[in-house]
């Protein structure tokens, strides 16, 4: 049997999760939005053939992982060196606002960032996350825990965001 879930339902239920994963992996800009679009377009193509009972969210997160890799490769081919780093505005005093947390996510060490993306935000188990990003399940567990601890310390307590950057 294949799925009988209206695709619109899948977008409504999992659209935000997939966008969080894309933002954590690619930063909160156009790349993440492109990855989201490519993910949901590819998933729509495959949708009628999806086996009934599939964990739709995990399936979408794995598609997003592949699309993020495609976009990272494309970006690397077209990268233009720049002397001007994007200006970092202070978000002190408005925790949880704008792209604050996403900027902090982008500043995490890569392993932590990817572990946070696929395990915490995408909901994939440690072992499955490890299969995507390399390393052991235990290493993923530690990296994601460290990453979340750093983000939570910065944001949940209502501190300024500067501390999480480096």
């Amino acid at each position: 049997m294949t799925t009988t879930i209206p695709y619109e339902t899948a977008i409504a239920q999992h659209g935000p999760t997939v966008l969080r994963v894309c933002r954590a992996v690619l930063g909160p800009g156009a790349d993440a939005e492109d990855a989201w679009s490519e993910t949901f377009l590819a998933a729509l193509t495959a949708w009628p053939d999806l086996a009934e009972g599939t964990n739709v969210e995990a399936w979408l997160v794995r598609v997003a992982h592949r699309k993020a890799i495609d976009i990272t490769r494309t970006r690397a081919r077209h990268a233009v060196p720049s002397d001007d780093l994007p200006e970092q505005t202070s978000r002190r005093g408005i925790p949880g606002q704008d792209d604050g947390v996403w900027t902090a996510v982008a500043a995490l060490p890569e392993r932590q960032r990817l572990a946070v993306a696929y395990h915490y935000l995408g909901g994939l188990p440690h072992a499955e996350t490890a299969a995507l990003i390399g390393g052991s399940a235990e290493a993923v567990r530690r990296a994601s825990a460290d990453g979340i601890r750093a983000l939570r310390a910065t944001f949940t307590a209502g501190h300024s965001t500067d501390g999480a950057s480096r």
Partner: protein, 209 residues
Amino acid sequence: MTDTPTTPEDLTARERTDLFPLPDETLDALRTRLVRRAGEAGLVDVAYRTIDTPLGPLLLAATGQGLVRIAFEREGFDAVLSTLAAKVSPRVLEAPRRLDAAATELEEYFAGTRRGFDLPLDHALSSGFRETVQRHLPEIAYGRTRSYKEVAELVGNPRAVRAVGTACATNPLPVVVPCHRVLRTDGSLGGYIGGLDAKSALLSLESSA
């Protein structure tokens, strides 16, 4: 936001949305862009939208072939969409523009300025005798009514009165396919998928316009 000193393993769905906020307008824009690209790629098998009418909200759904379903709110829109996903295709997307023509004609009908519909229809949800009956129903003119028995005669099967009743009760395209114009022989309303109030409202609209 709470300050509960939980371990990272306890990140809850609530905390996920609080700690990692997303702008609603970004998600809306992404969804709109997806629907447009899906349409261009021919991947929208069932498009739907809702409209407000004097009978309450109606759900309209169309395939590439034409209007395939009109549903009253009392039927449960989620249930109707699930049925479309199962019986037609799960590539079901809210794509309002694809139903602009149907929405306009229905609006004119409810305003009393339209007496017939000029919309392509997809009878994919019906088959056999039911489909035959439903295809004949538009022959009953605006403002007129027929009995179930008369419709049975119309489709050439005068003894199939009960089957005509079933065909009307299971009409997937109410209002546009005018099963509301079929009454009991004694003139009483019979049944209606949108409720008897909706049926009498449609009949009084047509008798007064």
